[in-house]
């Protein structure tokens, strides 16, 4: 049972999607319950996975391997380390919450849930893959469901479809449509997202194929490649750049971010949650899994690129979010701004900062999803996302307003949420290497506070338009469940971060040791008896760099 835990987490959503195909559309409750129970199985299993992961043992655990093609060296090779485990958990939490957030979807709910389950399963697959082929397989697989979720269930301004050019042709019938920047339609958002991501996915594919070709090992197995493959000179640089920018586009790093806020804005709430919560983390995770593991020397040389770009990410995203009028644009740009923190934590290549980056990915997933769920609820009730026209909703929906406050606090990184810990670790860990970036990051926190509080005030306080007098609060159990789940996770991991921290450290330690060839401070210190909390550090000193 424990051996198959990864298969259960990965295939429960797929099985749920398949079961949904067989259930008739009319049985609405049945459709929702099936989707929720598939996600529930994954959620329970991933909590089990998280607490069953042994940080002392480290390495890759719960490994499963099934040959797919021996001749090509491809296997369905699943396993999680300390970096993958929390992200798998985050995906499952968000999938489960997302299904309840969309509980009242009326338009083709069955198909919506099918694609949502496939999307989540694909992201979970990336976090588990130890084989480059399947990593790419799941990565690509997560892009196409986004197209449908946006294109069919998204929202946009109605006038767009009637827009014509000077010759009287409909704008969406001309090729320029694809490159039509600045438009606000869901079709445009879906198209842009898919083309952008598949274009950059192709860069990753090239990088992966170059690794396969020039390693000469005839395998896609990441563990074998990281031990035996050696790349040097311009080739290593080329591969690293392909991998880095290919995956960083989904993260999204400035200046490759433009698809992301547009996509957030058009997407239905649950899709935005998964998109901002875990889809974007596929980028960071894959960079860590592929570039950090296989090309450690090149990573050490070139990772400053990420440190430089992260400045722009943090500042640009923050300022745009400050001036945006649309709730989802504010949250979308805030997400791209916050992804800069993760890049900073990764770029510093320090034990504390990388641990902070991984924890931040998890924390940000919960915080930003709360905000997107809020924006979705407000949109469902008022049919607008325009902040100036909203206001005073706190009297109509006190529960949602309360959740938003918690979500904003978490996003800002207030103590009381796990974001605080993660942010502090990134800042502390990066200070020695990148003081400028740390200062920018702190300014970014202030900016975050400014735009989130501005949004909160605009939506919930001030005078209320009587137009929205009919707006309802989330009262029913199913409506409150996702908010409560996400909030309690965020607070729980702040209150008891011990296991979380040691799990992440178990993944980060061997990686950073390999890249920087600097061992944790605790190693050089003389063993002064058992010190609480340093168990993982002494472990590194004994087992060191080597990995199974």
């Amino acid at each position: 049972m424990t051996d198959y835990i990864l298969l259960i987490i990965l295939f429960a959503p797929f099985a749920g999607a398949f079961a949904l195909i067989l259930i008739p559309e009319k049985q609405k409750l049945m459709v929702r319950v099936t989707a929720a129970s598939a996600a529930g199985i994954s959620l329970l299993a991933s909590f089990y996975l998280f607490y069953a992961f042994d940080p002392v043992k480290g390495g890759f655990q719960f490994v499963q391997r099934y040959e797919w093609s021996k001749q090509l060296g491809i296997a369905l090779y699943l396993g999680v380390d300390g970096i993958g485990t929390p992200l798998v958990l985050a995906s499952c939490i968000l999938l489960f919450a997302g299904i309840f957030v969309q509980w009242h979807t009326k338009d083709r709910a069955k198909q919506f849930y099918i694609w949502l389950l496939i999307l989540a399963a694909a992201t979970i697959g990336v976090f588990m893959s130890l084989d480059l082929f399947f990593l790419y397989f799941f990565y690509e697989m997560s892009v196409i469901p986004m197209y449908l979720l946006l294109g069919m269930w998204g929202s946009h301004t109605k006038t767009y479809l009637e827009m014509t050019d000077s010759e009287g042709l409909k704008k969406r019938d001309s090729v320029g449509f694809i490159f039509n920047f600045g438009s606000n339609s869901k079709e445009y958002a879906a198209m842009k997202l898919v083309l952008f991501l598949s274009a950059f996915a192709v860069l990753c594919l090239m990088g992966i194929l170059l690794i396969y070709k020039f390693s000469g090992l005839n395998t896609f197995d990441i563990l074998i490649l990281r031990e035996r493959a050696h790349f040097e000179g311009p080739l290593a640089t080329l591969i690293w750049l392909l991998i880095f920018f290919g995956f960083a586009s989904i993260a999204p790093i400035w200046p490759l971010h433009s698809w992301s806020p547009v996509g957030h804005a058009a997407a239905p709430a649950a899709t935005s949650m998964l998109h901002a919560g875990v889809l974007m983390k596929l980028g960071h995770f894959s960079i860590i899994r592929v570039a950090f593991e296989i090309l450690p020397e090149t990573t050490r040389e070139l990772m400053p690129i990420a440190a430089v770009l992260s400045i722009f990410s943090m500042l640009y995203g923050g300022f745009v979010a400050f001036y945006a009028r649309d709730t989802k644009y504010v949250i979308g740009y805030s997400s791209s701004s916050h992804m800069g923190y993760v890049f900073l934590g990764m770029a510093a290549l320090d034990y504390i900062s990388l641990t902070g980056a991984v924890m931040y990915m998890f924390a940000h997933a919960l915080a930003t999803s709360m905000l997107f769920a809020m924006a979705g609820w407000v949109y469902d009730q008022t049919h607008t996302r325009d902040i100036p026209s909203l206001g005073g909703l706190v009297n109509r929906m006190p529960f949602i307003a309360g959740c938003t406050i918690v979500g904003c606090m978490a996003s800002v990184g207030m103590p009381g949420t796990v974001n605080f810990l993660a942010e502090v670790m990134i800042i502390v860990g990066s200070w020695n290497k990148y003081p400028l970036q740390v200062i920018v990051a702190v300014i970014g926190i202030v900016l975050t506070m400014a735009y989130l509080f501005r949004m909160m005030r605009g939506v919930f306080y001030g005078a209320m338009d009587q137009h929205y007098a009919h707006a309802r609060d989330a009262v029913a159990f199913v409506d409150r469940l996702p908010f409560v789940l996400m909030m309690s996770c965020s607070i729980w991991f702040f209150l008891s971060p011990g296991h979380f921290y040691s799990v992440v450290r178990a993944g980060v330690d061997p990686l950073v040791a390999r890249i920087t060839k600097v061992v944790p401070v605790a190693e050089s210190a003389p063993p002064a008896g058992p010190v609480a909390g340093s168990a993982h550090l002494t472990r590194v000193s004994t087992e060191g760099v080597s990995q199974p």
Binding site: R172, E187, L195, L210
Partner: protein
């Protein structure tokens, strides 16, 4: 000499003649319903035979299986020699599969000259099957040419477009032009064999047998000449860019059944893998040849994708998308390594499910609105959700979404191309992006969004027969996408033998001792 395995029953001859006999039986029938039923029955019988062949095929083996040989014109060394190996076996399956689906599709859609249509379709099946199971080059050529007759009449008599006469003639003339050169190439192969056989006192002195021709060494100059002669035949048929101009016309004007056959069964590129590469290994390896073929492949990929992007008509879009996909097939074939060749073969089969499947869907759209132009549609997802779903599944397979067959084939091709010359591969990947763009853009405009202005009355969702077609295609798409190894294993042996042959050249024989590079 390649090892030949025989079967206790002349099953390939049955495959060849069952549709032919079926066509003759139809000749004596009058009742239309009866004719349709018998035609469907014959194609189902053929499919059953093909499944028996696939089930009894020994995987991982390079040998020619189910071999049958009868002397035909002995003085000239022409024999009735049938056999399938890993390269041709899957084509037998896909031909029978697609013909059955065409029969299902034609049940309601063909209203004029039903008897003649069914007969022509069965004759077409015989000739196509003949191309894949013959091992004698003259016999191969006979079927290759005979195929034009039913094709010509299918486009001319049952085509939907106003320009069908022109399209039929253009198709026939172009293909004939190419095959004349191919005939010269075949003759040169025979002459070369004759000279060698006489010198070495080998009987028979004349032979068009593929296996005999493999034994005779050929000088590189002669190989190059023959390569280009055969190339013309295959390139017009495939059709490779820039020999593709007949394809959009034939696909637009012809009936859906014909379009499915033309787009789904890749005979031209099969010819390269079956004859050009093993018979002329030095020429195929030649630097210039490889460069020209690769450039042509890349030009086809990019050109097809660009042009497909701006097509407002679904069938024209599909025509150019198949030019683009064929570029991938050629790219994989001329990577000349195991992965590339295997990917190329698998992609040819995949296109039989995805591109041909999209033509079926185009047929569904056509039968509802008498057009596949974008202006006739819009927002179909609301009215016809099943149609929208299956169009999406098959379309995603043609884009190459992971989990569908398209991904496996494309990935293998790119892997092979990267192993051979990685910069070719890196240009080809651009085609993947455009592939996503042109399909999703059409899908977005015709299926998603609000209802189209032109849609005055409701569009019906899929009917029973159409559902059967869509479901069976989707099953195959997902099967190959998720668990391709049964299909890959069938090819393994022959592909490995082909790679060995390319490595060692004509001086060494293709033999059964070539080992699989497994483990």
């Amino acid at each position: 000499m390649l090892e030949e395995l025989t079967f206790h029953f002349p099953i390939l001859s049955c495959l060849l003649f069952v549709p032919f006999l079926g066509a003759i039986v139809l000749w004596f029938m009058d009742d239309e319903e009866m004719i349709k039923a018998v035609a469907l029955g014959v194609s189902l019988l053929e499919l059953a035979l093909a499944i028996v062949v696939l089930a009894h095929f020994v995987p991982d083996s390079p040998s020619m299986q189910f071999a049958e040989r009868l002397a035909w014109v002995s003085p000239l060394g022409i024999s009735y020699h049938l056999g399938v190996d890993g390269i041709s076996i899957l084509f037998v399956g896909i031909t029978a599969f697609l013909t059955t689906l065409i029969m299902v599709y034609s049940w309601d859609t063909v209203r004029q000259k039903v008897r003649l249509y069914m007969m022509t379709m069965l004759l077409l099946e015989t000739t196509v099957m003949g191309v894949f199971v013959t091992l004698d080059l003259v016999l191969f050529f006979v079927f290759w040419e005979l195929m034009l007759l039913p094709s010509y009449f299918l486009i001319k008599l049952w085509g939907g477009g106003a320009e069908r006469q022109y399209a039929a003639l253009k198709f026939t003339l172009y293909t004939l032009l190419g095959s004349v050169f191919m005939l010269v190439g075949i003759a040169l192969l025979d002459i070369n064999y004759h000279a060698w056989a006489v010198r070495n006192h080998i009987e028979p002195t004349y032979s068009f047998d593929f296996l005999d021709l493999l034994t005779a060494p050929i000088s590189v100059d002669k190989q190059l000449l023959i390569f280009w002669l055969l190339f013309l035949g295959f390139a017009f048929k495939a059709p490779l860019f820039p020999f593709h101009t007949w394809l959009p016309d034939a696909l637009m004007e012809g009936p859906i059944g014909m379009a499915v056959m033309l787009a789904g069964i890749k005979m031209g590129t099969y010819g390269f893998l079956r004859f050009s590469l093993p018979l002329l290994p030095e020429a195929s390896k030649n630097e210039t040849v490889v460069t020209i073929m690769m450039v042509m492949a890349l030009a086809g990929i990019l050109y097809g994708a660009f042009v497909a992007l701006i097509q407002p008509d679904f069938r024209r879009l599909l025509a150019f998308s198949s030019v683009s996909h064929l570029g991938f097939v050629v790219l994989g074939a001329f990577a000349l390594n195991f992965q590339g060749l295997q990917g190329s073969l698998l992609t040819m089969i995949n296109l039989g499910f995805s591109t041909a499947g999209l033509f079926f869907v185009a047929g569904f759209l056509y039968s509802r609105r008498q057009s596949t132009h974008i202006s006739s549609f819009g927002g179909l997802a609301k009215q016809a959700p099943l149609l929208a779903t299956f169009l999406l599944i098959i379309g995603l397979a043609s884009i190459g979404l992971p989990g569908t067959n398209g991904f496996v084939g494309e990935f293998l091709i790119l892997l092979g191309a990267f192993k051979a010359k990685w910069w070719y591969g890196s240009i080809a990947v651009v085609g993947i992006i455009f592939g996503a763009a042109y399909f999703l853009w059409y899908y977005e405009r015709s299926i998603l969004g609000p209802l189209g202005k032109g849609l005055t009355q409701a569009v019906a969702d899929l009917k029973m027969g159409e559902l059967v077609i869509s479901v069976s295609l989707s099953i195959m798409i997902l099967w190959i996408g998720l668990y391709p190894s049964p299909f890959l294993r069938m090819m393994n042996g022959s592909v490995q033998a082909l790679v060995d042959r390319l490595d060692r050249g004509t001086l060494t024989m293709l033999d059964a001792t070539s080992k699989l590079a497994r483990d």
